[in-house]
């Protein structure tokens, strides 16, 4: 019964790479991530009669409004405009909701960090997980809309996990960056909201980039990571094409870089969070 040799020893002075330690911690606490996701899904729908159907109805409603309002303005050249808008909205909503939730959970739930040790990235990771589940649900109305308006669903849909993975990595990276800043300044969360609105209109969510004048188009495309990620998301499902290798590589680069930067930034500061929240 010699327990002493196996018990974990915590030494505040022995600190390896914070980023790697956090990675190990988040793996050890995977059940917590699952519980956080479960909590978010359950509490969001528990007190509404329609329950999980909201995940599907919400983008559907927006899509219907946008289609009615904009199909003449933006959609003239776009075949199956409703499906174009809906696929863009699904990708965008996933990104916006995950990054927002990551920030809000850390700011409002952060008092937990002062009480017990849990990996600090669990808020952002679980927020992205919750977003992924919602995204999967919202694919159902997309497929239905495509069937109804006659946009063919091709076998290329099997490539959909690739853009979803890159979107998730990008969202997690941005979520970690923004939530770190939000810990220090109370107005970051609000400023981010405004940024998100502007960002959405600068991304090809409700319009096709072809309708823009050449000059703006280049800027919007070149400097906006979401352009690549949304287009990659649409490829296997809306366009029915095998994802273009170039686009895959650019998106992978964006996703990897953002996640890496966000993770490093967050973990290099997360020891201070308990002093701040």
């Amino acid at each position: 019964m010699d327990k002493t040799n196996q018990v974990p020893i915590y030494d505040s002075a022995r600190q390896g790479s914070a980023a790697l330690e956090e990675l190990r911690a988040i793996f050890n606490y995977r059940y917590l991530i699952a519980q956080f996701i479960r909590r978010d899904i359950l509490t969001r729908y528990k007190r509404s009669a329609l329950g999980v159907a909201w995940t599907m109805l919400n983008p559907l409603g927006t899509m219907i409004i946008l289609t009615i309002v904009f199909s003449r303005a933006f959609g003239g050249s776009q075949e199956g405009y409703a499906a174009y808008v809906l696929s863009g909205l699904i990708a965008w909503n996933f990104f916006a909701q995950s990054t927002n939730a990551a920030t809000l959970h850390l700011v409002w739930g952060g008092s937990l960090l002062k009480k017990i040790y849990i990996p600090r990235t669990s808020f952002a990771v679980s927020a992205t997980g919750t977003g992924l589940i919602n995204l999967l649900f919202s694919l159902i109305p997309l497929v239905l809309v495509m069937l109804v308006i006659g946009v063919p669903i091709r076998w290329t849909i099997i490539f959909l996990p690739i853009p979803i993975l890159f979107l998730a990595m990008f969202a997690l990276g941005i979520g970690l960056l923004i939530s770190t800043m939000a810990i220090y300044y109370a107005d970051i969360a609000e400023m981010y909201q405004i940024t998100l609105t502007a960002w959405m209109y600068l991304s090809p969510v409700i319009y096709s980039p072809e309708i823009l004048p050449e000059v703006y188009r280049l800027w919007i495309i070149r400097l906006n990571p979401m352009y690549y990620l949304i287009e990659l998301f649409r490829m296997p499902i809306y366009y029915g094409q095998v994802p273009d290798l170039n686009l895959v590589l650019i998106s992978a680069g964006i996703a990897l870089f953002t996640l890496f930067a966000g993770w490093m930034f967050f973990t290099s500061r997360s020891d201070e969070f308990a002093y701040r929240v």
């Binding site: 020893i9 505040s12 606490y29 479960r38 009480k115 308990a274």
Partner: protein
Amino acid sequence: MGAGESLLVESNGEVIRLEGVGVRYRIASERVITFKEYLIRRFQGKITLGDFWALRQVDLSINKGQMIGLIGPNGAGKSTLLKLIARVMRPTKGRVLVKGMVAPLLEFGAGFHPDLTGRENIFLNGAMLGFTNDEMQEKFDRIVEFAELWEFIDVPVRNYSSGMVARLGFAVATDIDPDILILDEVLSVGDESFQRKSLSRMEEFRHQGATIILVSHDMDTILEMCQQSVWLDHGQIKMIGSSGEVVDAYREDQESSDGAADEA
């Protein structure tokens, strides 16, 4: 394996050691909470940061199986000390060594979600303490039994009384085999019979060899439960010794400072 670590393992029974520990909070001279304000003030050169040391040069060694009382006035650094041991915070200076699993019992039910049922919250809270679903499944019946909440286990926690929340929180947090248990003014929850139950659970832990750190403003609790006590004052250790002596000295000090305040 570092030098400190091997020391900790070899010296018989030392489970917690603090070496020259200091904790500094940075406090801006003007409270800046928004990024906009920060930019403006920074530009105007108005921001200066003040240092506040919540703990200074604290050296402490606690052995396995000890039940230690931690006393001191508000703002003395007691909670900060507990946070260091629970590895919620890293010290600004010095070193903290802790051997074994620490169960932090800071405020029961802190992680509960009001819209979730008692059952759902047990699993959520268990995961926060680092347990798997299977482990929680195994504990579940015992926890509900101890909290005496069978009737309400599938009711959302928002409909619980505060006593029920505390009971459930206590039951989840103590259905473990911790090496070190941290209690921050928490024995005052629940009715008398539940308090007796929690006290006997504390005794159980001690028999199993757990080390317990108890923070309380109630000197009678300290005298009753802890052989040794630490008196913290303004971030420094003022006295360590048997609870009787430390509590006496602390009471004397409190009375004299009260007297001084009355005269002023």
